[in-house]
Amino acid sequence: MASHSRRAARTLLIGLGSLSCLVAGATGAARAADLLLLAEDVPSGLDPDGPSIALPTTQEGMVQMLEPLIDYEPKGPNDSGFVLPDFSKPRGRLLEAWDYDPKALTWTLHLRKGVKSCAGNEFTADDLIYTYGRALSTSGAVPNAWFLLNMGSIKGFTNDVFSTDKAVADAAKKLGDGIKKIDDYTVVVQQTEVNPLYFVNMAVTISQGVFDAKEMQKHATAADPWSHDYANNVNLPSFGAYCLERWVKDSQISYRANPNYYRGKAFYDHVVVKKVPEAANRLVTLRTGQAQMVQGLNAHQYDSLKDAKGVKVEGVLGNEGLFVVMNFKTKPFDNIKLRQAIAYAIPYERIVQVGYSGQAKQWEGVIPSSYPGFVKQAQPYSTDLAKAKALLAEAGFPDGKGLDAYKDAFKLSYVSEKEATLGPVVNAISTALRALNIPVTLDPIPQTQYGDRQIVKKDLGFAVNDQEKPIGVDAGYAMKLFFVSKEAGGINNMMNYANPELDALWVKAKIEGDPAARNKELADMQNILMRDVAWLPVVEFKTQFGLSDKVNGLTWVTDNSPRFYDLKN
């Protein structure tokens, strides 16, 4: 009976398959000159100021089409084949050259000539002026592009654009003399203070990529003069390596190589990104050779590909890390000794193994170790239970006595959708802390709720986080984003950490013109943060992709999206 059913099913499937293949003339999912990437999702929008900009899969779509002003010279592949950037060597992309006048605080941007968009329009200063004007209009769902220009102290990019006084806001949204077109290929940008972040942020494609103004303006309407609907739902016209071919949200997106691309046409003429929600299916499809690339697997799944024929895994210890949040506004986490005790109780090596299959290492600082200006802690926290116990006693909780009063504070929150990766990690942490009589319980919560509590309410008492990274390659960027107090201009200080000493150093570093002095101030800040366990860095883990062994050239960029242009056979 069973074998009969099997035969029948097999016959049916083979019959349908053969008929289909005979008529369609194709058997595999991807053909030789194509690239098929299987991903956990496809872009939900393509507007840098759109509602889905925070989603990595949206960013991945944007960076294929948007062209940045600068990026960094490659410095060669790491041991797995991932090509890494040399952050000390910025290189012009849409910029041919740039000059900085420290006295006048002006940047003169010399634009590349002969660059053409997917629509065939030539890149000129008008495109850059349009891009900056759109950012200043703050007319999208999220003022993402404005944010990085405001962070870079560009004249005119002030908080006045959000004024409740309409006249003030409207006036502030018009480009003034902060951005000036000199001629078709020269633009001058004025800063209000010394601030290296403007230049650093130019490399952030998902925020500072340049639009094809002519094409965008074609789709403007009276109600939507900056074409947000078009960018959110139809296309992202720019000067990048790929042009949009077809896009079905929640299903797949396909690109064609830009025939006009100024760096030469991409090797893969046709790239398709298909949403395959089930990670196991991405994995098996790659193994059969019907896809050339997969992403979004957990470390154990990547590990399982190691010995598979015809595929390889490339990974980089880039800027992804896992840390523990202990909120200073939640007792007893305002007690530094208790924070240090927890830091000495964390089973770092076990987490590297059970959470990341060995593809991680202990994080010994507060910014990514691959970034310039990273400071390694002189004596990193290590798993030392005797020291943890002693510190717990010094904190006023010998053998954990008295901590039962704070049971609610020790609910360890994490994103429930990441159970496959974070489950083993939180279990390892919980087991280690319970051995010290710290009453930890696990609290998985949905991503949206986690984000709301982290970013808006800032009331996550005790949590594990693996999704924050400074996309701008600068220690100061990270300081402002994560650690400086709100009063001193900090943005996403989820731990409610407020240290006047640190804030004072930031005030100096922010406008420090001497790079050596600035590095020293930023180094001092990092040491203070490690001493106070402002957040508890646990591990840096690899950003990984699974690839056909015929695909080479994968490069790492700090937004962690692959650039299809760099891929070759």
Binding site: V23, L38, A141, F162, Q252, Q449, G451, V456
Partner: protein, 342 residues
């Protein structure tokens, strides 16, 4: 009489629908998180948050939001004019997005239920013809076996065996080869569209891609439907009128036909209920086979706290379910006119 009955049922359905829309509107706003945070990401300055909140209309009082949703705030463009709003994740029209995802699920379910009925009815009748016999026991074991594992598990197992090991099924990458460029949809039902265009290669390709997801659903659905048909047939075959028919010397096939008509109504009810449940419940099969149906859309909407999308999905699925129940009631009324009179 029948028309009055239909009118009454439609009126009740509309009231039910309206009540549900109101309840869902307020209930989802009680969820323990603010969707604005997901939009602003790291750039959560006070100003950015305020702007995002304003762009979603969440800075308005709840009553104003409610009136806007229905289009009663004087600006129009609300639910009463057929607009389901704009998704907060994609910024696309919810109606359009549901129009893309719903046909995928309906197509899958309809195909699965047709095949299930083609298998379950004869198997159920055959089992009932000799209760306790070897065939009947086999069917009982199958019912237990098929229903004992969740559908995503069977789906993954089928993929592993038929695609990965045997290589006779397509990759679980949706309804068509992702490298092909499908034509623009006409109805949204890709099988139907391919026939309308005369694209038989596409028709066969889609059928091939639907084979494993359909097999998975048939495997799961056929268990309870076989049981229902079998039990009702056993009951009908044991009733007095069958005894009389046999005593009158009617052929066994005629007797079976009479009994089947009696057994049909409860089985149809079960099919109708299962169809309504599976509209949202097929999400696991949709996910495993990357089909992108309405269930997947609903789950994403809930996880992202995408209020307009959640409201739209609830409204559409409820409407379809109420429609199915209405049709079932009408079929009942035709089979048994006493239902309409009551």
């Amino acid at each position: 009489m029948l028309l009055r009955y239909i009118g009454r049922r439609v009126a009740v359905s509309i009231v039910q629908l309206l009540g549900l829309v109101v309840v869902v509107f307020f209930l989802i706003r009680l969820m323990p998180a603010d969707p604005v945070a997901r939009l602003v990401g790291l750039n959560a300055s006070k100003e950015a948050y305020a702007q995002a909140s304003h762009s979603l209309g969440l800075d308005q009082p709840l009553l104003t939001q409610f009136l806007q949703y229905f289009g009663l705030d004087g600006r129009g463009g609300g639910l009463l004019e057929g607009h389901l709003g704009v998704s907060w994740v994609t910024n696309g029209s919810v109606l359009t997005e549901i129009g893309q995802t719903l046909p995928v699920t309906i197509q899958l379910l309809t195909l699965s239920f047709i095949i299930t009925l083609l298998i379950a009815v004869p198997v159920g009748i055959a089992g009932a013809s000799r209760p306790g016999g070897a065939f009947d026991r086999g069917v009982f074991v199958y019912g237990l076996f098929g229903g004992s594992q969740p559908e995503f598990w069977w789906g993954l197992m089928f993929i592993f065996v038929f695609f990965f090991k045997l290589g006779i099924a397509p990759a679980p990458l949706g309804l068509v080869n992702p490298m092909d460029m499908p034509s623009e949809p006409i109805t949204g039902f890709i099988l139907l569209d391919s026939l309308l265009r005369g694209e038989f290669d596409v028709f066969l390709d889609v059928l091939w891609h639907l084979a494993l997801p359909t097999l998975t659903l048939v495997f799961i659905l056929s268990g309870p439907i076989i049981k229902m048909v079998r039990q009702n047939m056993v009951r009908a075959l044991g009733s007095d009128f069958v005894l009389y028919a046999r005593a009158a010397g009617l052929r066994e096939s005629t007797v079976t036909r009479y009994a089947f008509r009696i057994a049909l109504a409860p089985a149809l009810t079960l099919v109708g209920i299962l169809y309504g449940v599976m509209l949202g419940g097929a999400v696991l099969v949709e996910t495993v086979f990357s089909l992108g149906g309405i269930g997947q859309y609903a789950v994403r909407a809930v996880l992202a706290f995408d209020y307009p999308a959640i409201q739209g999905v609830v409204l559409v699925i409820t409407s379809i379910s109420l429609g199915i129940y209405l049709v079932l009631d009408l079929v009942y009324a035709v089979i048994d006119p006493r239902v309409a009179r009551s």
